[in-house]
Amino acid sequence: MKEQDKPLLTIEGLHTCFHTLDGIVNAVDGVDMVVYRGETLGLVGESGCGKSVTALSVLRLLACPPAEIQGAIHFQGVDLLGLDREGIRRIRGNAISMIFQEPMTSLNPVLTIGEQIAESVRLHQNLSGKEAWRWAETMLEMVQIPGPKQRAKDYPHKLSGGMRQRAMIAMALSCNPQLIFADEPTTALDVTIQAQILNLMQDLKQEFHTSIVLITHDLGVIAEMASRVIVMYAGQVVEEAPVRELFKNPRHPYTQGLLGSVPVIGKKAKMGRRLQEIPGVVPGPLETPGGCRFHPRCPKVADLCRREAPLETVLGEHRRVRCWLAA
């Protein structure tokens, strides 16, 4: 088996629930996924479908209680859920790191950019303060921030949103992790800046041979970045496919709906074609419908869907779908 074909991260039967006063909320309900070395995996779904909670569960960043994480998460053969506090702390930032959605609030306003990057380096590598600072400057240069030496001494409020997101990426990459969870890294940015950041991530991925799990609801971003896509709905994986396959031949009605709801411009746009929408909203966390979870919104709903929840149908390697129509 080639190095590239070895799974870096395997998640099996992940259940993450929150004990609330209103009852138990199953945010993630039986998710399986594999991330390979050097690949970009897209994780797509509407707000509240459990994408972010999946990422936070892997790094165990959720407060337990109220959260409860069950299942198996193996990273390079190490059982992450079995590690003690010190063990998981050594993994965080060092082997697996995270880029957060909001660059405006993800940086500490009272520490300089350089201090924040140097801190994450010093936590995991045996470097002196000066060496760590120099490394922080190098990282800022790497993410193409102009005048990195000056910017390292700046406080976050002096930087624009795009610059801050670059700084966040520098921080996430500073210990050369094998895996990065990028939780909607471009959602808060302008479209032009989005493209720059995505290109930057693509370049750095090549350079550092990092795997990326890209969490987003933007299918355009997925098409550009990901090689494989997992679609989530109401805490479950509903479809997995290589990216071309997914756009060409979506099997789950939800995926079809998602693709249909992307506006098309130019020649491909048919005259008079209305923008498709998926009727209704994602069911609340406490009102998960019986049977198939998508059935109240599904245009192809059948009796069976209302009665019984579909199991996953494996259609090929990395090609699975959770729908009675595909079974």
């Binding site: 960043l61 609030t105 993800s106 500490n108 520490l111 801190e119 994450s120 995991h124 996430a172």
Partner: protein, 289 residues
């Protein structure tokens, strides 16, 4: 060159707050008054050589005159001299009280707010109990237990300040710890202690600074109150509250004996309060210019 530059950057942060403080006339007045008190306290032996406690019954209860600028008290001691030396006592008490409050209150507030759960519950119930008493009454009760004197005044007022700091810091920590940058710090593998000291504490420094300035005013007032009741610093040491207390007996025939120490207390508390208010506005990052 880089060091110079770095220095200039920090100066930039400082200058911004300073520029705002400078525009606030009341705060400037408070600051200037405080500097005057500090100067007086530091140079008391120069400003009033000789003992402020040595009696001279020949000149008791004299009205303000050229020889005795603020008059003399019932034992013929110069009130000016006693106020000058008394500023040492009052500022020392303020400093001591705030140290006790900060050293014990801030860490407890940080722990209580950050960890939550049972630790938080335990700390908060004790705080509730302490806050159930008016601050002065608590200090009074503690003096009753510990006894009178400078050290015990500092300890008892200091303890009555602790719950105020705990509440203040805990409240700020509760909002700061939910910020994404704290989660981000955890995501890069920071330990709890590091997160508290490096990421949370600097973000709650502004309210702590403001409370410290305001608290010093309160401390002086409490100390004067204890002194007035004869439960604070003991005579013959010059203490404003005690001077006020002993002057009370001569309020009708020699009102200056009680008035001037009262003015000294009033101005000292005012200076801390004005400065505290000014600092709050100047340091508040929401009103950055």
């Amino acid at each position: 060159m880089t060091e110079e530059k770095e220095h200039r950057e920090y100066a930039g942060q400082f200058r911004r707050s300073w520029a705002k403080l400078k525009r606030n006339k009341a705060a400037l007045f408070g600051g200037a008054l405080l500097l005057l008190y500090l100067f007086t306290a530091l140079f008391a032996p120069v400003l009033y050589p000789g003992s402020p406690s040595a009696p001279n019954l020949m000149i008791s209860l004299e009205k303000p005159s050229r020889d005795h600028f603020l008059g003399t008290d019932e034992l013929g001691r110069t009130i000016m001299g006693r106020i000058i030396w008394g500023s040492r006592v009052s500022l020392l008490i303020a400093l001591g009280v705030i140290s006790v409050g900060l050293v014990l209150g801030v860490p407890l507030g940080l722990i209580s707010g950050y960890y939550g759960g049972k630790i938080d519950f335990a700390i908060q119930r004790v705080t509730d109990m302490m806050l159930a008493f008016p601050g002065f009454l608590l200090a009074l009760a503690l003096v009753a237990v510990l006894g009178v004197g400078l050290k015990n005044t500092v300890i008892s007022i200091g303890i009555s300040m602790i719950p105020i700091y705990i509440r203040l810091v805990r409240g700020c920590v509760l909002s700061v710890k939910e910020q994404v940058y704290v989660e981000a710090a955890r995501a890069v593998g920071s330990k709890d202690f590091r997160i508290i000291v490096r990421h949370i504490l600097p973000n709650v420094m502004v309210p702590i600074t403001v409370q410290t300035s305001l608290g010093m005013g309160t401390a002086i007032l409490f100390a004067a109150g204890l002194g007035f009741l004869g439960l604070g610093v003991q005579p013959p040491n010059p203490e404003w509250g005690a001077m006020l207390g002993s002057g009370r007996a001569y309020l009708f025939n020699a009102p200056h004996v009680a008035t001037f120490p009262g003015v000294a207390i009033f101005l000292a508390v005012l200076s801390f309060n004005l400065l505290g208010d000014g600092l709050r506005d100047a340091l508040d990052p929401r009103f950055r210019i």
